[in-house]
């Protein structure tokens, strides 16, 4: 075993660049997945069968196929007939889209967890459909969904290095490039440890949130 701290030192500036890109992908990917997931969840409850059915099919398909292949699809196939995007943008869209199908399930469970009496009360008060959602159902559902959503953010963090495979310079991308240039492997170890260092406090935070929010 030959561990060289000098190599680690040389890698540090690029490591921080990578951390920034990873966090950026994570932040925007999270926003996309939270927003899109809500759209899927509401569409799956639509009274119209031709909305509900295709949305369910598409989300099931996305959830049951690998993110890696979806990234390849977005990066190599979509430009044939649609917009061509930079590796980072593709990665963010891929992460957001993939995880939106998971967050949709979380929202769905959260909405179904609101007692039926709440719906009936809203009907009895003759609240409009949009008012029922905004003022009665969603505020109660959101309390239940925060901890599982947090878990998916951590899961997304751990899947984010996949965007390096299509050429984005996140933590793993930087480590790979650095390792190839210098024929060393310390950078990979640093990145591996960095993931634990970021993910562990995050999951502790989620457990604390869970204790506070769920009764």
């Amino acid at each position: 075993m030959n561990w060289d701290w000098q190599v680690v030192d040389d890698f540090m500036p690029r490591f921080w660049d990578g951390v920034l890109v990873t966090l950026q992908a994570l932040a925007i990917g999270t926003l996309i997945s939270f927003a899109l997931g809500l759209v899927w969840a509401l569409a799956q409850r639509s009274p119209l069968v031709w909305v509900r059915w295709p949305v369910t099919a598409v989300t099931e398909f996305i959830r049951n196929t690998p993110l890696l292949v979806q990234l390849f699809f977005l990066f190599y196939v979509v430009p044939n007939f649609g917009p061509s995007m930079s590796p980072l943008t593709t990665g963010i869209v891929g992460l957001g889209l993939h995880y939106s199908t998971y967050t949709a399930e979380v929202y769905r469970a959260g909405i179904e967890g609101v007692p039926a009496g709440q719906w009936e009360a809203a009907t009895a008060l003759s609240l409009s459909r949009s008012r029922t959602w905004r003022a009665v159902i969603l505020p109660q559902a959101i309390r239940r969904v925060v901890p599982p959503l947090g878990n998916y953010v951590v899961a997304m963090l751990k899947d984010s290095p996949m965007i390096a495979t299509i050429g984005a310079f996140d933590m793993l991308g930087e480590a790979q490039a650095f390792s190839n240039e210098t024929f060393t492997t310390e950078a990979l170890t640093v990145v591996g440890v960095a993931f634990i260092v970021i993910a562990y406090p995050a999951s502790l935070l989620i457990r604390a949130l869970e204790r506070r929010l769920v009764r």
Partner: protein, 246 residues
Amino acid sequence: MMSSEFFTTWFLPGIWVTIQVTVYAAALGAVVAFGIGLARASQYWIVRFLAGVYFEIFRGTSALVLMFWMFFALPLFGWQLAPMWAGVSALGLTYGAYGSEVVRGSLAAVSPAQKEAGIALNFTRWQRLRLIELPQAWPEMVPPFNNLLIELMKGTALVSVITVADMTFAGNLLRLGTNETTPVYTLLLVLYFVLAFLITRGMRVLERKAKAGIGQQPEKRGGITAKTGARGESLQAGAPSAGGVR
């Protein structure tokens, strides 16, 4: 378009490699899940602590980074793994850590009265576990294991980046060779979906059998995947509801 020769030399073996990696990693993952899951319920604090450390470390790492590390960095510590085994170990160790939470949670959900009955009947700890606790916890484990197995199967696509010739690797090879991307990546997505579908069907049968073994009916569910949290993480939210046999 994909030539039939390419199909038989790369794609079909690729499908087989994907299935192999899934099976081997699932087997390793199951061993790890039960080993660590039982260790986390141990009566000795040091065993619980070490198992907890394993769980936190492998739940915190990214499977892809771990795989890269095993493939590129581990040889420098004097351990050269064949690409396929680096992939299988990384997946098995990571998903085994997720699985250990499922095992621990389901064992904790077995009614305390059942354990006390075992103690009253003078069963040893091992007998209690084997004859009373595991048979009742097992049906609870099957649906979350189904989700984990699908996550793991999706994770096998990662082995293509460490040069294991699975079906994603075959797809990338074809892209490099012909620049025809639409048919091959579409086919790949469909194939993975079919695999996930088959896994879910198989696990449903297993669940029905497991529940029948303790005299229960399986719940009705829509969709092709069980709707509890994948990766067993959000399972914890409501899990230890000491219901015992429900």
